[in-house]
Symmetry: C2
Subunit: 209 residues, 2 copies
């Protein structure tokens, strides 16, 4: 298993496989195949077999994949067979929506704190949390040993907040700010930007008359 | 110009180039280079030159790219030299946060309607809009000739709402629901899923002890 050499593109597909397996399990399926996964995910079955082969394969020719076992393996590979504590930085509309989102806990992530710089937001309840001051950030990162943070601040302050997070030891940033962050090679960034998504679709659309 | 043959991966990078050019212009730069763009975006300069070459190149060896001109060209290529009207389906925390988001208008998108199925949400003001009933959807899609929709509904209802949208003629769906939508080949889907982002980062993190 040479996990180091697997490309980011392959890694980015593993969560999709896991999600589809969870979905199939809810449908009552115990066994699936690369064909079925491929059809459901609009990928080729060969692609799926190849992606999974980097980690050992998990299926026998002709017998398919055990839905529960493959989920368990993918959770181990993605390191979500444990719960990760996550902080949200920015208590605007988006930050608050993320705290309220119910889809994290079952997938390995628990939002344990939300921070903002604005005095009027500090102390405000958001779900089960209370917005904390950015002054509290170093203490909380250390106490909770936070490695993963969701950045939901305006573009103007994203880089300076990211620098602060990295200095505190954060290693993974889910970045909602519409800028490309500059980070050292040992820090991962995953960008979420609806504008990029919309623009890459309108390329394919006929221009309106 | 054989735009049809350009891969999705290349197209997905064009909005990033555009965003960086806008950023450089704000910094007062009139000329940039594939080297500078590459450094800022953590891509190789060769990659950037190759991506742009599909559409004609836009730069001369040794003189770099004109920041304003390249922006204009990219906006034409991405079909955002016009404004696209967009509807948000789902007036939960996320849908409302999207309506409030200030980053769409300057990038070619204007949210003109928000819909929900829940009686208690219909009529509620969100920014300058009022939540409309899903019964209004066919009329609004037709009147505004909506091609682009943002889907911010729970996973359980996402596929059936998508089917409805596609039947009404919607051709591009920015999907926030954590499922892989089944759509015909002439419809584009771009998925935004924080869980997928988080899981593809924790792969690279040391497991906590």
């Amino acid at each position: 298993m040479a996990e180091q050499s697997v490309s980011d593109v392959v890694i980015n597909r593993l969560p999709l496989y896991l999600r589809m397996l969870e979905f199939l399990q809810k449908e009552g399926k115990a066994i699936t195949s690369s064909q079925e996964l491929g059809e459901r995910l609009a990928l080729s079955s060969a692609q799926i077999r190849k992606d999974l082969s980097y980690f050992g394969g998990f299926g026998k020719q002709g017998t398919g994949y055990n839905v529960e076992y493959l989920q368990k393996q993918l959770r181990q590979i993605l390191h979500i067979d444990q719960m990760w504590d996550v902080a949200v930085i920015g208590a605007g509309d988006l930050g608050r929506a993320l705290v309220h989102y119910q889809g994290f806990a079952s997938e390995g992530f628990q939002i344990v704190a939300i921070f903002d710089i604005a005095q009027k937001k500090i102390g405000m309840p958001v779900g089960d949390l209370v917005v904390a001051s950015m002054d509290e950030l170093p203490r909380v990162v250390q106490e909770k040993q936070l490695a993963v943070v969701i950045l939901a601040v305006p573009a103007e302050s994203a880089q300076s907040v990211a620098n602060q997070l990295i200095e505190l030891g954060v290693r993974a940033i889910l970045n909602y700010a519409p800028i490309t962050l500059n980070v050292p090679p040992n820090v991962r960034v995953y960008n979420i930007d609806p504008v990029v998504g919309l623009q890459s679709m309108t390329y394919y659309l006929q221009v309106k008359v």
